[in-house]
Symmetry: C2
């Protein structure tokens, strides 16, 4: 993060990252499968927590309410992380390669959430659609949360965005 902030992602070589960490380039690649991955280390833990909150949702909850519970968990995980999230996102937004990596992490998250729904007995394609919709809500909400003008909490924005999605798909939007 330091080096990326100083020189930008492309201008920073893996050799420099390794040197700053007191390691060899070869050792870097033993810890991270590639240069981009260094920014996405925590994503598997994140995914696991959301899957758990799906598993823990009340037995009678509908798929969309179950997804809402997972999104609520996601919102809580970013409390007090706004500054860090903004710095990180600024780097990602500046490089298409990093955006691609972010998107595949989110796609993998959607697949995990769908699987967690299926384990609750939700059928396909409902499970997959609910999961994809949930991730779409998260993406939109996260972007709104990151915006410099925003002061609301991620949790609140997620709730609002989910309600907006419901209104949109119900055909309740003007124009």
């Amino acid at each position: 993060m330091e080096l990326f902030g100083e020189r930008g992602f492309e201008q920073t070589t893996v050799a420099e990252i390794a040197a700053r960490a007191g390691l060899t380039e070869r050792t870097f690649f033993r810890h991270y499968s590639d240069k981009r991955e260094v920014l996405f280390g925590g994503s598997s833990g994140f995914s696991g927590l959301l899957m758990q909150s799906i598993a823990d949702a009340p037995a009678g909850a509908t798929p969309i309410d179950t997804i809402a519970a997972a999104l609520a968990t996601a919102g809580e995980l970013f409390v007090d992380r706004l500054d860090h999230a903004r710095r990180r996102q600024r780097i990602i937004d500046a490089h298409a390669d990093l955006q691609e990596r972010e998107l595949i992490k989110l796609a993998s998250l959607a697949a995990s959430l769908a699987e967690a729904l299926r384990q609750r007995g939700v059928g396909d394609p409902a499970a997959r659609l609910a999961a994809e919709a949930g991730v779409a809500v998260f993406k939109v909400a996260f972007d709104r949360w990151i915006e410099l003008s925003n002061t609301a909490s991620l949790s609140d924005i997620i709730r609002e965005s989910l309600d907006e999605l419901k209104a949109v798909t119900a055909g309740n939007e003007r124009r």
Copy 2:
């Protein structure tokens, strides 16, 4: 596509692709920004057609109906392309790098659709959510269409999937 089918994507070097096309490696990179892009050339045209169908939708249509019109256009574009789509997808599914590229193309598509909705006067975040939901429906429907066991048309599957999404977000799904 020939070379990727024979040897796989990673095992095929750009020099080989260029040679097969009767060109130099350097010339390849003047036509395609990178090796992966060779599989995603048509995506800007695709995106343009969907944006046009959003612009052409009836003035009073709701955002979700407008997106439905765009998805209908998308469905028509793949008539008689099932075999080609399956071969191409097999290659993509085998390589994470290619999946990343596919995802960023779809994200770019979602951004374009959202912009087309905004030009019709749809506000944010409704425009973005409707667009993201539309792309999610397309993803799920496309996967179902590609499945070997499937015989239905992409257009029909898209319609079904959109209806499923509406049911899911309305909370009308069991369990």
